[in-house]
């Protein structure tokens, strides 16, 4: 198992009051599995991701990344905001993680080929403020890929992409990810995205509990919205709205 959450609780203190956010979270992602997390705003999806990359400690419970207790740097993390360093060019931003791991030389080629693939090669020497919002988000995604970690934690990576690029990215990710054998944990609001990409979908409820839904569609999946997909999307929608949840098999 690449990523394991065992009885994870999380609460924070605000104005001397303890607010519980996550309640007894349990799930595991196998190596090469693609898991999505969906849920209403403020249910703690981003917080869950932060726990999964060791940026924050759970109040109770255990988190394992590749069978070791999680530590900062164990997984690649892409935060909700793009957080590109404004004083670095696109290329320098991409090489941030390699620099930290002291592999700048080795990864430079990889960064270049990625830039060409996503059509941003012309912008390699531009600064983030010279890019549109969508371009920035794409660079941020590439930066996460270049951490070279086995487990990638993505917090709404395609939220700011335009419809077409988003579709393209979906195709990519789904094709690449099998080859690269990466484990991906994706937070998203786009149910279609979740259904198209995931092996499994976790619904996070405002009560802090979760339920799971397996997506048993064969790969490669159709880019067009099929009946099966629409059915799954409808189920997910009802799950999110419906507060009394039963386990779905």
């Amino acid at each position: 198992m690449s990523l394991i959450f065992k009885n994870v609780f999380y609460s924070f203190t605000q104005q001397r009051q303890i607010s519980p956010l996550l309640n007894d979270i349990n799930f595991a992602a196998a190596a090469g599995e693609f898991v999505s997390i969906i849920g209403k705003s403020g249910t703690g999806k981003s917080t869950l991701l932060k726990l999964a990359c060791g940026l924050d400690q759970p109040s109770k419970g255990e988190i394992l990344v590749q069978d070791k207790p999680v530590f900062p740097g164990a997984a690649g993390y892409m935060p909700q905001k793009d957080l590109l360093l404004p004083w670095r060019t696109v290329m320098e931003n991409l090489l941030l993680a390699p620099e930290i791991q002291q592999q700048k030389r080795q990864k430079a080629e990889e960064a270049k080929s990625w830039l060409k693939k996503v059509g941003l090669w012309d912008y390699r020497n531009a600064f983030p403020h010279e890019l549109s919002g969508g371009m920035r988000q794409r660079i941020a995604f590439l930066r996460t890929l270049l951490t070279g970690k086995e487990v990638l934690l993505l917090d709404e990576p395609f939220g700011a992409l335009d419809a077409m690029t988003k579709k393209e990215m979906h195709q990519w990710i789904s094709s690449l990810w099998k080859d690269l054998n990466k484990t991906i944990l994706l937070v998203t609001h786009d149910l279609h995205e979740a259904v198209f990409l995931s092996d499994r979908i976790i619904v996070l409820h405002p009560t802090g509990e979760t339920e799971e839904l397996e997506v048993k569609l064969p790969r490669p999946r159709s880019a067009v919205l099929t009946n099966e997909m629409a059915g799954l999307i409808n189920i997910l929608e009802s799950r999110i709205t419906n507060e009394q949840h039963e386990t779905i098999i």
């Binding site: 990359c53 940026l55 993390y77 004083w87 941030l96 620099e99 930290i100 403020h129 010279e130 951490t147």
Partner: protein, 257 residues
């Protein structure tokens, strides 16, 4: 050539205002509304500057040496202290009050101690310069370091960055604007520091020259030294501002600065 033109375009208003002021000043003195032994006319200062140009150049060089040396030491010490305070909270608690206290003490009152410790070597002037210049550097660098965005730190931590890598790649660059504000202040202050240092005892430098001229009631001499000291301060500030501009070149096309 072109840059001269731009400089002129940028500052013609100041130059015009300065010209008006100079004429007014000359007139006030010429018509004896202000006695020339208290405020000499600009023309008199110019003449004095020209006549003593060689002597003044030598003193200028002496002051410049003290200023630069003091400024560099203050910058290194100030940044180191700010960084230490930033990393180790207990250093902050211990040193910040002391740094503050050091600024509230009138330096001239301490002059005997400076003389005792440093004698009349260049180091007594450098010490005064350091004392004066490092305060704005410490405060601004420390404030700047504390102004970083926690989200960026989280991002780097998620990449497994060590404390110093986070510092190096995020916190330091984010502290730069505030740091440069401090550097600009310090550049100006270090000239003042060197001047005061020379007053505490010296045998060369513009501060020494101005005191000496004041002692022989030569107001033109005093003001030509003051003029050069101002010029020195302006040049250093200009250099710091230029460095700042180069440093933030990436902001050039950015609308918010």
């Amino acid at each position: 050539m072109n840059s001269m033109k731009r400089l002129f375009k940028d500052y013609y208003l100041f130059l015009a205002a300065a010209a008006v002021l100079l004429v007014l000043w000359e007139w006030l003195v010429r018509t004896d509304r202000i006695p020339s032994f208290i405020l000499p006319p600009p023309s008199g200062i110019l003449v004095s500057l020209y006549e003593n140009r060689e002597v003044l150049l030598g003193h200028c060089w002496a002051t410049l040496k003290e200023t630069i040396l003091g400024f560099l030491i203050a910058a290194v010490a100030g940044v180191s202290l700010a960084v230490a305070m930033f990393f180790v909270k207990s250093v902050e608690k211990m040193v910040y009050p002391a740094v503050l206290i050091s600024q509230t003490i009138p330096i001239i009152a301490l002059s005997p101690i400076f003389v005792l410790w440093f004698g009349y070597s260049i180091w007594s002037k450098v010490a005064v310069t350091v004392l004066i210049a490092f305060f704005p550097i410490v405060v601004s660098t420390y404030d700047g370091l504390n102004r970083h965005d926690k989200d960026y730190v989280d991002l780097l931590r998620s990449m497994g960055a060590k404390r110093w890598q986070i510092f190096n790649k995020v916190q330091l660059p984010m502290a730069l604007p505030s740091f440069m504000s401090g550097i600009k202040l310090a550049a100006v202050f270090s000239v003042v520091g060197a001047t005061i240092g020379e007053w505490l005892g010296a045998s060369e430098g513009l501060g020494y020259y101005s005191r000496r001229m004041s002692g022989s009631l030569n107001a033109e001499g005093v003001f030509s030294a003051i003029f050069l000291l101002s010029l020195l301060g302006m040049c250093l500030f200009g250099a710091a501002a230029l460095a700042e501009k180069r440093m933030f070149k990436w902001k050039e096309n950015r609308k918010d600065v």
